[in-house]
């Protein structure tokens, strides 16, 4: 039922990208987003496309799987395309009823859609190739310098990893409770919006109760193993950069440098 959400899921396979240090992947995502917003030029986007295609290829995650994650934001994409298409001032191209499509509007809409799609594809590559645990490990270590200004980095990372870990559990639980209530004649699919919202009560109440019960159990289990926060805590597998990671950093910064140079050379031109 609700199990086919791919955005934010981990895809198990063996590839170079999977083996990279999570800090490299976090930095890579940041670099990718920066390059995506550097400017509006067809050449620039060609560069981004090539980079993204190469990374997807190297990650061995089927393209179909990544594209499926876009379904969740399809409405957002359509809306932003429509708004940009009709509401951008400039040289008019076509008149439809009271709406005008301008040349600038077309450019704007196309860039917006491409940006959004690439943004989601780029970030989902990270979550698809990194286990939640690895990801939060990377965040904790990568943002460790913030501890100097008293940001509780470890606690935040721990909360994140617990939250991520619980998503599939709660999805499964929801599925089970919905089925159990359907077996008692509950109907979630017909009726007005209000009626449907009301029909969710028999699902949400048990779901909340079970979430609290699980949280309680987890807290107890952590305490039983003497968990007391970050102070003096060591890792079984501490993060360490390998040669591939260093090479990946080199590629990343070469890519970013090339994109900035390209952007400067093109000036403000679109084509």
């Amino acid at each position: 039922m609700i199990r086919d959400i791919t955005f934010g899921q981990y895809y198990q396979t063996d590839s170079v990208i999977h083996k990279l240090d999570p800090r490299v992947k976090l930095m890579g995502t940041l670099v990718f987003i920066i390059s995506l917003f550097l400017g509006k030029s067809v050449w620039l986007y060609l560069g981004v496309t090539i980079f993204l295609a190469a990374v997807i290829r190297a990650s061995k995650v089927p393209l179909k799987f990544i594209v499926k994650g876009l379904k969740a934001v399809l409405v957002l994409i359509i809306f932003s395309a429509a708004f940009n298409l009709f509401l951008t001032a400039g040289e008019p191209l076509v008149h439809i009823w009271k709406l005008t499509i301008t040349k600038e509007g077309v450019y704007q809409a196309v860039f917006m859609v491409v940006r959004l799609i690439y943004l989601i594809m780029g970030t989902s590559i990270m979550t698809l190739t990194t286990t939640p645990n690895h990801l939060t490990d990377g965040l904790e270590k990568g943002l460790g310098f913030l501890r100097v200004i008293r940001v509780p980095v470890h606690e935040i990372a721990m909360m994140m990893s617990i939250a991520l870990r619980f998503i599939p559990i709660l999805v499964e639980e929801t599925d089970k409770i919905m089925k159990a209530q359907m077996a008692r004649g509950a109907d979630f699919e017909s009726g007005s919006l209000l009626k449907r919202a009301k029909a969710m009560v028999p699902v949400l109440v048990p779901l909340f109760i079970s979430a609290f019960r699980r949280a309680n159990d987890l807290a107890m289990a952590m305490e039983a193993r003497c968990y007391h926060g970050s102070e003096g805590r060591t890792k079984m597998k501490p993060l360490k950069y390998s040669r591939t990671d260093k090479a990946a950093y080199a590629i990343l910064f070469a890519y970013l440098g090339a994109m900035i140079a390209l952007c400067a050379a093109l000036g403000g031109r679109i084509v």
């Binding site: 359907m182 077996a183 004649g185």
Partner: protein, 285 residues
Amino acid sequence: MAIIVDKISYTYEIGTGFEHKALQQVSCVIGDGEFIGLIGHTGSGKSTFIQHLNGLVHATSGQIYYNGEDIYDKDYDMKQLRSKVGLVFQYPEHQLFETDIFKDVCFGPKNLGLSKKEVELRAFEALRLVGLEENLYYQSPFDLSGGQKRRVAIAGVLAMKPEVLILDEPTAGLDPKGRDDILSCVKRLHDETGITVILVSHSMEDVANYVSRIMVMNDGVLVFDDAPKEIFAHYRELEKIGLAAPQVTYIMRDLKKAGLDVDTSAITIAEAKDSILAALRAAKE
């Protein structure tokens, strides 16, 4: 009037690379008033199978007929089916949500669109059937013990007056007293109302003591479907798929080997006792 299951198969997550065949070509006939035990190892497909019987899961292939009607027909009333085939999930106490027990039991019959009077009448009857004390009816379901909560949850399904009652591991996580309470309550229900009962379990003792027919599942395939005595005679095959016969079966076999002439097909402690006493008496004479 029965459930006919005709070669149903079910595959999880088709086309995602995580495909998993949960059921393969399962066929059986479930007659009226039967008391059936469904046993199998964790992940053998028992839970998936029973969810087919009330239409919660739609088979990838195959047909199911309830009282002669194909439940996969487009105009078949699924809601009606779910009221006729009552399914009690594993840990059913986790589905309780109302502020008091009585209201929670009313949820099922209310969904059937019955009058308020009929709903309350059925709720009272169901609570009486599961043997819950009347002074608890208006308490919060969250104040009860595990076994009591479970009985309330079972009452919630019974209040829909199903013709078939399916219980998925009703004794999981209960203490011996809670377990005996639930099982004897189910047994009493079966005897009093003539309802068809399917009991999913992996405890051979539970099953052997109550049911008249056993279905064994392994890896999504129905491997045995017979009377308990016949099933437990295959205890070697059962062991191969991670199950076992009731403990008394093993004792009886050992006794026989040791020279005492006992009936090795005994599967309950009471039967074993009679057989051993008889054998001892015969040996004395």
